[in-house]
């Protein structure tokens, strides 16, 4: 019952976020700050995780390819498409749901508890728009860039593991990378990354904005931002796969 009520409140709240800004320059400054926080702040963790995922993907497929009739250069093709279609975007988004989702929920929830949001409301600020829109814009711009970085680093990790651990040659891997390339897969990746960015940010900001109670409730809201964000990302992943790949 609470889940349905929360969903209704979330849907009813979304139009407030897209209200006309009171002062464009203030929103612009805040968006740039958020872009920096999300982009630079998450770059290292995204690169580390995607590098390892690419390497593991490469090693696991090389293990599965053993003793089969599948040509060895397929390793590059498999790692590339795994990273583009699924691994880079979904794993990066789930990691970001944990990292920036919890931060956003805690930041806005803290402002709610310290009466900062009430203070802004009294000044006449549309707090839903001012606190959420810059984060949302920053996310839908920066997260796809992070996903592209994750994809490149992941393929790099896969290449490194294939050459050094799995015993493939560089030429085999690169041949695979250049084979069967479908540009539409890049579109799938970008559609997913923009959708997931919206989910991560809006769910986290919703949890923070409507928090009540004290520090325990704030912690719970932060946890809910990560849990709900991750679950909704996976549901959206399935739906996008069904729609775009069918």
């Amino acid at each position: 019952m609470k889940l349905i009520r929360d969903f209704g409140q979330y849907v009813a709240w979304l139009p407030d976020i897209f209200s006309r800004p009171e002062n464009m320059s203030m929103y612009y400054k805040e968006t740039i700050r958020q872009m920096y926080d999300i982009g630079i702040g998450s770059l290292s963790i995204v690169m580390i995780i995607s590098g390892f995922i690419g390497a593991v993907t490469s090693i696991q497929f090389s293990y599965q390819l053993e003793g089969t009739m599948i040509p060895s250069y397929y390793i590059g093709y498999i790692v590339r498409d795994m990273m583009i279609i699924e691994m880079a975007v979904t794993l990066t988004s789930i990691v970001l749901a944990g990292k920036i989702g919890s931060t956003m929920a805690a930041e806005i929830g803290g402002m709610r508890q310290k009466e900062h949001i009430d203070a802004m409301e009294i000044m006449g600020v549309n707090t839903s728009a001012y606190l959420v829109m810059p984060k949302l814009l920053a996310s839908v711009v920066i997260i796809p860039i992070l996903v592209i970085v994750a994809c490149i680093v992941g393929i790099g990790g896969g290449y490194f593991a294939a050459i050094t651990v799995a015993g493939f040659t560089s030429a085999e891997f690169i041949r695979g990378l250049r084979s069967f390339f479908v540009p539409f897969n890049i579109l799938i990746m970008l559609v997913k990354s923009v959708t997931f960015a919206f989910i991560i940010t809006s769910v986290a900001c919703y949890q923070g904005y409507f928090v009540t109670g004290g520090s325990i409730e704030l912690g719970q809201a932060s946890t809910r931002a990560v849990v709900f964000g991750s679950i909704i990302i996976l549901i959206a992943d399935l739906l996008i796969a069904l729609i775009l790949m069918s």
Binding site: E22, N23, M26, K114, E115, H116, D118, A119, E121, I122, M123, G124, V125, N126
Partner: protein, 253 residues
């Protein structure tokens, strides 16, 4: 002038305000007083539109707060300044940035004009030279003064203060009271202060509303407090035996 008519507020089955009506007069320091749990903060939040009443209406001159749309509410709120109990200063901004925030958001003033207004406000609350300090670097009394400076930076018509003296020593509390009172007179504002501080009542209470168990129990001015025979009022203002004796002595003289 702000007029509250027949305000009822209930949370689930608990009625916090029971048919409260009161007129807050323009150009005066209006006080909402009462014991903890009397409904003062809920009443104040209803007055500024942070909470909706279960029934009743709030009139800002000729504007009905409860029936205006969101844009009209925002326009009205630009005429409102508010000092919060916990100050609600933005931690990540300096004193100057806190005071400048409403101007940055709503005015097209140049940087020089904004700086001049910030300096004027800081001077008015005797905090010259604190521009670049963060809220965590100044005392509670100074934070209150920054809160006052921020709330008057757009020259509001209405000023609300939620427990402005909480957590302050008596002398600093009197300074804050005097500051609010003098600013009210300078700008001819309608000021509403929510307090349970007896000193504030006797120093600056020009129009007082006493809430008790969610109901309007008494109304009058500070001059009328001393001569009142209202049991609820006397029990609240002169709570200790010492203060009761003091009142009796004052009346005898």
């Amino acid at each position: 002038m702000i007029k509250a008519s027949n305000i009822i507020k209930a949370f689930s089955d608990q009625q916090v305000l029971k048919d409260v009506s009161f007129t807050f007069e323009a150009g005066k320091t209006n006080l909402i007083i009462g014991k903890s749990g009397a409904g003062k903060t809920v009443f104040l939040k209803i007055l500024v539109g942070l909470l909706n009443p279960t029934s009743g209406s709030i009139w800002y001159d000729k504007i009905d707060l409860c029936s205006i749309n969101r844009d009209e509410l925002r326009a009205l709120r630009m005429k409102i300044g508010m000092l919060f109990q916990g100050n609600a200063l933005f931690d990540s901004m300096t004193v100057e940035e806190n005071i400048r925030f409403p101007m940055d958001m709503f005015t097209k003033k140049t940087a020089k004009e904004k700086q001049k207004q910030v300096d004027l406000c800081l001077e008015r609350v005797s905090l010259q030279g604190s521009n670049h300090k963060y809220p965590s670097e100044i005392s509670g009394g100074m934070q209150k003064r920054v809160g006052i400076a921020r709330s008057i930076v757009l020259n509001p018509k209405y000023l609300f203060c939620d427990e402005p003296n909480s957590g302050l020593d008596p002398k600093t509390a009197i300074t804050i009271d005097e500051l609010i009172s003098s600013i009210t007179q300078e700008h001819n504002m309608t000021t509403i202060i929510n307090t349970h501080d007896m000193n504030s009542v006797m120093e600056i209470g020009e129009n007082i509303c006493l809430l008790s168990e969610g109901q309007l129990a008494w109304q009058g001015s500070k001059a009328e407090v001393l001569h009142s025979q209202d049991y609820v009022l006397l029990d609240f203002i002169f709570a200790s035996p010492f203060l009761k004796r003091l009142r009796e002595t004052a009346l005898k003289n």
